[in-house]
Symmetry: D2
Subunit: 426 residues, 4 copies
């Protein structure tokens, strides 16, 4: 008696098969040859699947998500309960299929207790920064996700590795490449995985841009243009403190321009040039920069022009100019609102296609990626090396800005040398 969904009987009644429970829908005969018209899906390989109910003219609907049971998901400890954790990351766990939050680390017991309660985390799994090392004893925690100000990343990654936990670390990875290398080495030595949270490399529209460019169908890319700007509030934020932030707009948001250009091409720049601008007399920019314009030259000839600022209205766009078309991703680096357009000649006309992908939470995708890597013992797509390389390049950019001259960089032999396998988003 494996199945008892309500179904149509020969007399038009709807009944549950096992119990013969009658329904009210008596009426003219609705004899159904073959299977029940009530679509109930089937269970195969631990997943529910449904036949495609749409016509050929419309997108097929994706299979229903198959989240792991909570008890089988990889447990994460969130270190730092600032905006990103509360506004994006903890909500994103609600959309994860393979990860769940099991511990919090915060300096505010009151806040931590409230947030733990909101997310069903045990009070005993809430730690202070002083307590943090005790996390080693918590078997539910398999990954420590460091969401602190940049200047604190190194310390907490090192402590997490020492505790024997895998580590996910917000970008920028650290304050500089020396710290970044130390972090990578420490995780390697401890035998734990390290992933840098470059969310855009997991966001589906950004991935589609990478796929389109690499497919070669549009010819070689001549230019990448990436812009990441926003405006900032008052100066009493840690982002204006060099010791905590490592720099200004460049490491915070310009990093996405840099990282995305590299990810699209799979190459590393052989020359960089940068110019920094700070508005006169604005006390917020005593320690860190407001605005950076920079150019990256890649060995195959593509040039990336990038612009980042804390002093311009929010604009987070990406454009690629190829031989046979262009690609424009509005809100490329934003948390949401991506809008992908692709232009090409169409006979005598010019066509610009807006391509609408299913919306997915990029934070949930990257967290689930880390959970999969842990569960399946794979290297993350954006491991520590990816972060080290960005720090080396940012240092070259700052040097260029200081000296007023471009900075040459040694060519790297392999493509995608700093990346693990691409995330599987099926």
């Amino acid at each position: 008696m494996p199945f008892e969904f309500p179904r149509l009987t020969r007399r038009g009644l709807i009944a549950t098969g096992s119990a013969g429970l009658l329904t009210a829908a008596a009426g003219p005969s609705l004899a159904m040859p073959g299977p029940s018209p009530v679509d109930t899906g089937s269970v195969q390989g631990g997943r529910v699947t449904f036949p495609n109910w749409r016509g050929e003219a419309d997108r097929p609907s994706a299979p229903p998500p198959a989240p792991l049971p909570p008890s089988e998901r990889v447990g994460f400890a969130i270190v730092g309960l600032g905006r990103l954790s509360l506004e994006e990351l903890l909500p994103a766990f609600g959309e994860c299929k393979r990860a769940r939050p099991v511990a919090l680390v915060s300096g505010s017991p009151e806040k931590a207790a409230l947030v733990a309660a909101q997310h069903g985390i045990k009070p005993s799994s809430v730690y202070s920064y002083a307590d943090f090392d005790r996390i080693a004893e918590n078997p539910e925690v398999r990954v420590v996700y460091v969401v602190l100000p940049n200047g604190l990343h190194r310390e907490y990654v090192l402590r997490a590795a020492k505790a024997g936990k895998h580590v996910m670390c917000e970008k920028p990875m650290a304050n500089n490449s020396a710290e970044a290398r130390e972090m990578t080495a420490a995780c390697d030595a401890a035998g734990v995985k390290l992933m840098i949270a470059y969310r855009c490399q997991y966001e589906p529209n950004n991935r589609e841009v990478i796929r389109l460019v690499r497919s070669g169908a549009m010819g070689a890319p001549r230019f990448i243009e990436a812009t990441n700007t926003q405006t900032m509030g008052t100066g009493d934020q840690w982002r204006f403190r060099k010791a905590l932030a490592g720099g200004g707009a460049l490491p915070d948001i310009g990093l996405y321009c840099l990282n995305t250009a590299r990810a699209i091409l799979g190459e590393e720049p052989v020359e960089v040039f940068a110019r920094v601008f700070n508005p006169d007399g604005d006390p917020r920019y005593r320690e860190v920069e407001e605005t950076v314009s920079f150019m990256l030259r890649f060995p195959s000839g593509t040039i990336a022009n990038c612009a980042t600022s804390y002093g311009a209205h929010e604009s987070k766009d990406l454009r690629v100019r190829l031989e046979k078309g262009w690609i424009n991703l509005e809100n490329a680096f934003a948390y949401e609102g991506q809008r992908l357009r692709v232009a090409h000649r169409e006979g005598k006309n010019e066509a610009v296609e807006t391509i609408r992908l299913s919306q997915e939470n990029q934070f949930a995708l990257e967290i689930d990626h880390m959970a999969s890597c842990v569960a399946q013992n794979r290297t993350p797509h954006t491991p520590g090396q990816e972060g080290v390389q960005d720090h080396l390049l940012m240092e070259a950019l700052y040097k260029s800005a200081e000296t007023g001259a471009p900075v040459a960089l040694a060519p790297t032999p392999a493509r995608d040398a700093t990346r693990g396998p691409a995330p599987d988003q099926s």
Copy 2:
């Protein structure tokens, strides 16, 4: 010792306040006058709040979500594990703040067991259709959400009310107005709330359209144009069975055109006219209709032209033509992808504004609304009466299509007579 977030010390060191734990970021003095530069938010009234970190030129970020602890959320039983439940509703609970799924009702024990495990629902809270009435004994279940084929709505709403549970019922409410009235009466008699799941009335862009029109700033609306079309697959789906679906494209998707026109205006039509089209020889359309075009005339003079079809590429758009501008909501009735544009004169030019709201999961919003109504003993915004009225209007539309003549309807005195208070989406 209320607070111990890492902060800058006078000597530029970063330390946790309580334990004096030293960090590695030694360097030049970063003495901070006044409060710590590390933004930690504060806890007020059970919520965490942060100061606005953005500049005036950019949208302020919303306050972080304040989900209720899982144990305090309203428990829902999901009746029916078809596509909508698995693809949209159960995932949406991951984004809810006030509701959680606590029970499942399904005809397939295998599927139900799998889904229950995926969502952390106890095996003992999984019911068969025959078993369903035992749900009365489950105190965790406060709301029964009926997600069955339309023709089964009546039966399960009645059984849920009899079990003393509040009820949320998918749209269309039933197969006809007689069933709908019976359901409303049964819930009233049982003292339980009944909400019809008109998700678009909870979707923020649709709500913004309602707000814009009702504000009067754009003058009176002359026309509402609403289109809801998609293509359908093979004929072995319950949607082609009249006893199960109640009708074809009209009750399934055209209903959103009808319901939205009413919700925008707050009025009820005084005349309707409809034409039905079925393609020759398509066996899918023996019992239900493929295509309906219909016009609604409202007492204030606004006319709504609506079009729905199972035989046209997906298109789910809404347009309002007012005296001083027009509003266009692309993908108005889709699960995602809403794009709101508002046109108006701007001096010598015509301006079309694309307005980007924060994305929110409309399923989560409607489920949370029902949870709030239950917790606070309020009437849902879209109670049973809202569904009854749509059935009366659909019956008038079918009658018009059959007779080939418009059907007049008695005017209704009050505005928004079928709706409870607007949802609070703060």
Copy 3:
């Protein structure tokens, strides 16, 4: 001495071939094997042609226009110097290739003299309305273009035919179908051509919509949705006078919805339904209507929902919903600003293509079409019959609005029965 364009010599000098005139650009050798690098085009069949200078990735540029010498163009007399003549038609002649304005007819000698001077029209070719019949004696005038208030179309078309001139008449053709038939008969009897100025049938984006739908590539059309609204100023305009305008928004602007739906399908409706709305107490709408909503049902099953109003912000859009995609033409019925979008499934995604055609002046295209028909003795694409049919349909729509019931119409056997050959826009 057939050719003497400056060209590169073997020593890098630039010279004119015939005269050996040296230039200043002496320098390193630029020996050119084969033809001169200076692209000069060639003359073939009375046209200049150039080789394609663009790469394959970009749209080829169109061949340069080949206007007829002014003396060989067909001469037009413009009857009526209102806004349309001065703002659109006379300027459009500047973009015509086969037509030129050679006479004016106006009630204001001062205005006519000024306008004639502005456009290089002889003072002796300016006529008053009383004088108009003398135009018969002016051999330069081959076409009389009637741009008067609608209620005067009949009289002046009849007088033009009597004068032995071909006639182009603004839409709506007349005040009613009886007048329209009289006009067609008079032109037939006089052996002159009659074209109704349905400019949208000559506008390239509208033509592309017709082509796309008729190609069948997107399947059958289920719905056409056409909207033409604008707001009107004070009441002292002839458009509010029924004797002069024939009606309100319907014949003036709603006509484009009606005519375009017919032109797309090539069919004639078998049923129409309409509702009229006039705002209470607005003195402008004592004689003519402000707002009409109407539905057209075509024999193949397509339904057109149309909306027109003098009381809604300007909106002139066209949408077609087909089985495999949709087409949206923003500003379809406007003088400029057309924006064509076509949606379809693209694998797992939805794609919306914006297709950019070269901009062309639709007034110039329709005037040149009439000039070609006269020069080549062909029937215009939109002859008098096209206008008669629209008047028959508008009368059915007004009857429907008055009786409150749909009006059935006899089916017509042939497709495109009221149209001449499609315009050649190469």
Copy 4:
């Protein structure tokens, strides 16, 4: 007898006032108090004006154009009958109000004769390059418009000045700054005006961008991003010959990025940096460059990132990132298809306004501007100095590309020092 437009009589008849000519529109009385309902406009100051017939909600229509009588327009000689002349410039004269083509200069008598006939130019006003200097004797020619390959600009501007004619010269002005200065000096010495045909500075959307930025309402601009790319056909075009073209993509199309950035800000860069790329082994790029990426730093801190290429699909976009918003002009540098969008915060939302201006032919606007300057003895908005400055900057850019280092430039004291008064486009 000043007026005799058909009008309504007291008995509903339509008559011409002077002659009492009866019309057919007899019917119920339509007595009109006051003025005739037939809108006829009035003549004031040599212009026809109409009352606004639209409602307040819609854009007012512009006054009808008031072209000068042909005999009063400024006569232009077109030197060179390549694509630009035939496809754009000669057609544009059909839309001019103050200019007309009166002479042609070509190396192909056959082509010249055909084109002259097409445009109504006297055979006696057709010149060969050898003959060109005889143009001095043609009083109809007041302006010589040089549309030759760049390397020939200098020679023909000098010869035109020597002939005592005002000169309009296509961009780039010359092959280098030395030539450009020689041309400016020659025109000054001859007492003739020199205008460089920077059409974008006359195009209304570009002008609106300039106005928006300079208004200050959106705060200071941080970045200008300008891209001008297209793909090129086979190598037998003069554009690949340095002696004829002066360079590759930079002077041909990249010039618009450079010139527009300067025109928006009214400042001159104090530092430039450039990188050139040529695809390996492409014989087209032996003498001129395919691709240039360049950065301009302006004294107020704004940075312009510019990209130009002959090897990327057509893309001609402009973006400005300001403190309080961004501006995006698609197809900024194209002949048509401009699409202006402006983004800003709107309360809690982000708004992106698409602003639709009336379409105008930018070629006609610039030609009319020159005609006005000649008629009114004013300095053109883009005189020779504007072209000299661009050549100086392009030389600095080439130097930067060669040396691999940025090039510093002396600051210039005055704003808009190289420009004449802004064009009046009313």
